[in-house]
């Protein structure tokens, strides 16, 4: 059995008396598209925050590609190949779209302690950046100010930034949030193309996307993992239907 | 280093601490509830002193002067709030710093224009004049004891107000999460005005109480403002409890440090370098303290907001 790309062990996180992550143990295998679903308030985003390093768990371990990264800050995890997109779009609105992505390339390409050359002109950064923009379909907006993009375009930029980091593990926090049907289908197609090339963890409410993409699904209810399994099994699991899917399958 | 001298300085430290608390309380509330950096708080303190001197000159009675000065200080504070500060809530901290800096410049020199640059004095009220024997050989000015007592009384009153009254609860809630309080239907504008006015009065009160024992001059608010800012940062912004603890701590550290720095240093170095380094280190002491506290707890000792 291959070593998991991501191994969560006994993660616990409370905010005051509210337990948000309750003894979560989870494995994500290399190359897998692993979806995490659950009702609002189940603690999905907090879990993603702990994996990416923005929140420190109270207890438990996080192993990424076999290495214990629990104590590492988010920037260290990013440089090891862990990338994430945010549920609430987190870009640099004052910068041109291409520079948003070029910065992601810059982080893993050479030193940033360069003080004289104009960064925006560097082809070594712009070419990979454009490639990522083309992948997500917004290459035509490369020179617009990121703050002026439509919501759907901003979500695409969010994804482009994450992809430009050439990650081995990509955490997607509700990438379909707030975008229209057509754009959502485009995102699903993109993610399907990426399947197998990298490991992905997908947090989503959009069930159509989840069942189209996921290799395995974990269901998170009130901070606990209810079950993990193949999509067909999870779909049919009465506990899951009762706790969550029943509401979704309208 | 005699025991009596030490005790005197401890009392002096408490007196300074209590004074700092009066100023810091208003400052930390305004900051905590309205997210407003009010550098001009120090001039409220200065104004309190000047108004006390002015009214005393008219009525000749300290108590009457105190009441009149308090009312005038409150009125002036509310006027400032209405004219300027109200428009700065929600603005960048940078803008607030500049604007209140401008007000400091204006008021420091306006005071100079009106009352002149020479220091003014205010006599200690007769009833509290003179010294009292606290214990064998220890003579201590009565007025300083009055300051300590009144400061502690205000602290107690504030504690009761903030912990046990509905208004106090609103203030505490506002310090933790102002938008939420507003969303719950509380007239946040009026709450702000109350917090601001109250803080202004506390600072003015501090100025009035200290006037009899120091020289009242332009710019006297500046140095105490820095100390007060250090207090609220160490105590944690928005926290009255933090302001109280930090104020007493700073009052004691600063006073004892200045009095005994040379003596303490003489234990580890010769008298001459000690005499040179002593005052320097004493002045720096509270800043070093603040740096250490912020290094360990970047949001102060008792931060009001759960950051």
């Amino acid at each position: 059995m291959a070593e998991p790309m991501l191994h969560l062990e006994g993660l616990r996180k409370s905010f005051g008396s509210l337990i948000v992550t309750d003894d979560v143990t989870l494995d994500v295998m290399p190359g897998e598209m692993h979806a995490i679903i659950g009702p609002n308030g189940a603690g999905k985003t907090t879990l993603i925050n702990q994996i990416s390093g923005l929140t420190a768990p109270d207890e438990g371990r996080i192993l990424f590609a076999g290495n214990d990264v629990t104590a590492l800050p988010p920037e260290a995890r990013a440089l090891r190949g862990l990338s994430r997109s945010f549920q609430i779009t987190s870009i640099l609105p004052g910068f041109p779209v291409i520079e948003n992505v070029a910065l992601a390339v810059q982080a893993r390409t050479g030193s940033s302690l360069r003080f004289v050359r104009r960064a925006a002109d560097e082809a070594t950064l712009n070419v990979p950046a454009m490639a990522a923009l083309e992948q997500t379909g917004i290459a035509d907006r490369a020179h617009a100010r990121a703050g002026e993009l439509s919501h759907g375009e901003k979500r695409a930029l969010e994804l482009a930034i994450a992809l430009a980091m050439k990650p081995t593990l990509l955490l997607l926090d509700e990438p379909m949030a707030g975008i229209g049907r057509e754009e959502a289908e485009g995102q699903v197609e993109l993610l399907l193309r990426l399947k197998g090339q990298l490991t992905m963890v997908l947090v989503e409410h959009d069930m159509a996307a989840v069942f189209a993409l996921a290799d395995r699904i974990s269901v998170l209810i009130r901070g606990q993992v209810l079950t993990t399994g193949l999509p067909a099994d999870v779909r049919a699991d009465p506990q899951v239907v009762a706790a969550y899917l029943g509401e979704q399958m309208e | 280093m005699s025991g009596t001298l030490f005790l005197v300085q401890v009392l002096n430290g408490l007196q300074l601490g209590v004074l700092l608390f009066l100023i810091a309380a208003g400052l930390t509330l305004v900051f905590g509830v309205m997210d407003f950096i009010n550098l001009a708080h120090g001039v409220q303190y200065m104004l309190g002193a000047y108004l006390a001197v002015a009214f005393y000159g008219v009525v000749g009675n300290f108590l009457a002067a105190l009441v009149l000065a308090l009312v005038a200080a409150l009125a002036f504070g509310l006027l400032l709030e209405f004219l300027v500060f109200r428009h700065l809530y929600g603005r960048d901290h940078l803008d607030q710093v500049i604007a209140t800096f401008g007000i400091i410049l204006f008021l420091n020199h306006a005071v100079r224009l009106i009352w002149g640059a020479a220091p003014l004095t205010l006599p200690v009220p007769d009833f509290f004049a003179g010294t009292v024997v606290l214990m064998g050989g220890l003579l201590y000015p009565v007025w300083r004891l009055v300051i300590i007592a009144s400061g502690l009384a205000v602290a107690l009153g504030l504690y009761v107000l903030v912990t046990y009254t509905r208004l106090g609860m609103l203030v505490r809630a506002g310090a933790t999460n102002a938008p939420m309080v507003s969303a719950l239907g509380v007239d946040i504008g009026r709450l702000f005005m109350f917090v601001f006015g109250f803080g202004t009065m506390l600072a003015g009160f501090a100025g009035i109480m200290i006037a009899p024992i120091i020289s009242v001059e332009p710019g006297m608010g500046t140095n105490i403002l820095i100390l007060a800012l250090v207090v609220i940062v160490i105590g944690g912004i928005g926290s009255i409890r933090g302001a109280f603890v930090a104020a007493l701590l700073i009052g004691l550290v600063d006073t004892l440090g200045r009095s005994f720095s040379i003596d303490i240093l003489r234990m580890v170095m010769g008298p001459s370098p000690a005499r040179m380094a002593g005052p320097a280190i004493a002045s720096m002491l509270i800043y070093v303290l603040m740096a250490i506290v912020l290094y360990i707890r970047p949001a102060g000792l008792f931060p009001a907001r759960g950051r």
């Binding site: 390093g53 640099l92 910065l103 810059q106 | 710093v97 500049i98």
Partner: protein
Amino acid sequence: MTAATLAAASRSRLLRPTRDVALPLLIFLMFALLPLFAWLTAQQYLLDLGARMMVFAVAAVALDLLVGYGGLISFGHAGFIGLGAYAVGILSAQGIDDALVSLPVAIAVSMLFAWLTGIVCLRTKGVYFIMITLAFGQMVYFIATSLAPYGGDNGLTIAARNTVAGWKLLKSDRAFYYVALICLLATYLLCRALVVSRFGRVLRGSRENATRMATIGFTVRRFQLVAYVISGGFGGLSGFLLANSTEFVSPAYMSWQQSGELIVMVILGGVGTLDGAILGTVAYLVAEEWLSGLTENWQVIFGPLLVLAVLFARGGLIGLVSRFWRFGHG
């Protein structure tokens, strides 16, 4: 920093190509020609005033780097000026008055202090950062006041301006003026290059969205520290120039009021534009000069002007310039 303040200043960046070159060109041209004007109108004091403007502009430009581009509101910047000035003063008192020694020492001391204090300061944010930078500025101030052999509270007169490799280059006021101009130009050009470099981009990105930058892989604090040290170094340069300009060093150079004035200069001109820092310095010192001629208590007029500027002129002078520029060009 709120979007509003920065948007106001950056909206003024819309006319990028022309204004980006025209305005600084104009500014430096005027500085270059000022001595001629002063000579023609026989107003020698203008030379002093102009030199003073440039000396403070060096510090202001460096401060804008921190405040405008890094989002770090440092209220202790005068401390670096003071350190640079005292480096010159103390070395001079010891008999060392060659700029080839004093200048590197001034800059090195400032950078070292910036590095050590920056490590502590950058653990905090928001108003805590403002306060702790203020505290460190105060620390330097009190150290200076207690330096009895070097004047203490009263300050220290320097025998003469620094020599450069034995040559009394700085002795003539006009020569000093042009040295200061070159220093300002160098500071400005370096900072201009810096803000669009790889480093500058990370700094600016961190100001806009530090979380994003961290999750991309940047250790934000490290970059902020480097910016803090660089800014401190230029402060030291400013102090070196100030000490030589006035032939006097005093703790007042590092008072918190001085730090406040520097921030005012940056904001007044238009934060986050570099040109604004220079314009703001000029405007502030001109206002000070002019108003103090009217009345001894000129701050009574200046204070409210500041308040009004904050309330109504967002984006500072650069913002105003841009509004007129766009107005005139339709």
